[in-house]
Symmetry: none
Subunit: 405 residues, 2 copies
Amino acid sequence: MRPEVLRELSRVTDSRILLCVLDGLGGLARPETGRSELEEADTPNLDILARRSALGLTHPVGPGITPGSGPGHLALFGFDPEEYNIGRGVLEATGIDFDLGPHDVAARGNFCTVDADGRITDRRAGRIATELSAPIVARLNEIRVDGVEIIVRPVKDHRFVLILRGEGLSDRVRDTDPQAVGVGPLPAQPYVPDDEASVRTATVVNRFAAEAAKLLAGEPQANMMTLRGFAAYPNLPSMQDLYKLDPAAFAVYPMYRGLAKLVGMRAYASGHAFADSVAALGEHWDSGHTFFFLHFKPTDAAGEDGDFERKVQAIEEFDSHLEGILDLKPDVLVVTGDHSTPALMAAHSWHPVPFLLHSDNVRVDDRAEGFSETRCGAGSLGTFLAKDTLTLAMAHAGKLTKYGA
Amino acid sequence: MRPEVLRELSRVTDSRILLCVLDGLGGLARPETGRSELEEADTPNLDILARRSALGLTHPVGPGITPGSGPGHLALFGFDPEEYNIGRGVLEATGIDFDLGPHDVAARGNFCTVDADGRITDRRAGRIATELSAPIVARLNEIRVDGVEIIVRPVKDHRFVLILRGEGLSDRVRDTDPQAVGVGPLPAQPYVPDDEASVRTATVVNRFAAEAAKLLAGEPQANMMTLRGFAAYPNLPSMQDLYKLDPAAFAVYPMYRGLAKLVGMRAYASGHAFADSVAALGEHWDSGHTFFFLHFKPTDAAGEDGDFERKVQAIEEFDSHLEGILDLKPDVLVVTGDHSTPALMAAHSWHPVPFLLHSDNVRVDDRAEGFSETRCGAGSLGTFLAKDTLTLAMAHAGKLTKYGA
């Protein structure tokens, strides 16, 4: 459905939607057992819930498309990930709780090691520890290029964020990171040679790089830096504006809180473990919000590490919290993932993602024997695009009026 | 996914995708047995493969749309058949290995028999044999209409192709074939009366028709001709350009080779029977191509003839070649059709088409009991648009990078 129509159809009600995102939930069966992580996991609570829910599978972006974290979540928040994309630089900035402004262009920075000829010998400067890199970042933060405010913030280890703040900047600038060793960092170049803002931004970046080279020259490891993923502040409509929701986010990792903030969610302090996030959710459950996003990271982390057993345990950990989550009595509960991260692949993948929607008025797949890729694939919701998740949830929450007379 | 995004995501790898198209594969159950052609067929190899594959159904163009061969194949090659269409004339020209140029307009020609009053008595001139029609075609090829090069080439039996070559021509010209007996061929007319190129083209066609009438007057059967499906050269992007694939086609029938060539495939000599095509595929398997299109015609031919049993046998014939095909060890194997041709309807139809994708990293529908419309309808891939086939195949072949950060 087109956003402008959804905006017309949506209405404010007190009902509450809870979206639980198990990051990288979808998996692949181990050949030895024929069972995926979710099928291997002992999930008594999810299995009971599945029999009282509608099941399906989602394509986060589209068939065959492997999404990054940005598109995977934007889709679940009701935004077409083909239309809206969030650049790497913005994700990195949101990931350290840096509040980007409308005139900001952000880029991901990497410290690297170069030899006497300026050729990169280590793209990550020996994965220099944050304690060592943070003071260097502080020195980069002192660099001034006239007319443009320059902000440099540490992320973790060899990673930092560069933010250029000023009027007339553009993110249509190519990476300086050559993504290879044996060559020097590339000069920043505008995508389009005669675009004034891109040319200006590239010039600023190159001056910054030249100053950084001088400042870093004496460092044993981090004696140079590269930049990639230049991205301007994305002007996303808010969930308030599009869907008349009052949304709140609970996530341990700053990047997911940042993503949520970009679409208008209030992001709450969510502690260091999932139990903390669940507790924070409980505390703010009655504070007037009508949409709650609860993020669970360990499934993806284990999947990315290729650790099948740990992903199984992560799913079981989530399952153990489900009773507490259900005690909140959300009018609509969705349990799904932002994409698949099969442990067998140790990476994000394109495989459709298990999806479960529970509410009083849902048409239940009561013959489902539990919650898994296979069972969801046979679910009554079929295989659909993740961007339809919010509309489905709102419908079941009584938040969408009739379309047409 | 938008083509420009797919172009960004696609990357060159050595992995090989094999797309087997069983033309007109989809069928309908006979009321007496409740079994479709595919369900009636004894297909041990497909059944085993199905259990190690992901299954689904495809809409070649969209729900309820019956496709011709052009859209059905274009979709499988990764082109939106709503956006790109190939006219009949172009299909016929490609079908005889005629290489159209950018200033060509082609039309399908039929010899017909007319009575003394010029009314058509046989739309196909008694299906006059090629040996008899080819010399007549050669005479038509001598016709000159000033300023426009006229090329006439035999196809088979009563069929030929007319190509008009010159600047300022248009394919917006109506058929001269009335698709009926008892009436005379129609004059060519421009779609839009005041479009200069269309008017000029119609005038050229009518002069050609007048000359042809004189030349053919003495023929016992083929004493007139009709034209239909005027079509200009389609400027399709290539699979190389859009998807960075190096594609090859193996098809007995020239039309399918022609279709493949229009999207950049190298079309190889593929013999007269499917076994020849499989052999040719094997010979060229290691020649550097990364995408292989293997076409199987007998399913459609039997379906079009309304011959249920022969379609069953055709499916069994394909099945008998499957082991040899699997021996090539494609990284991704897709078995599907370009549309349904139920023998019960003796025509192309809109019914969704069985789809099977096999690869090492596929999420298998291991509870599938075989390969059929019903089983594919319960498959984990759901019912999707055929234009997503290539994206799915490329994902499983590791040829698509992540979308978004």
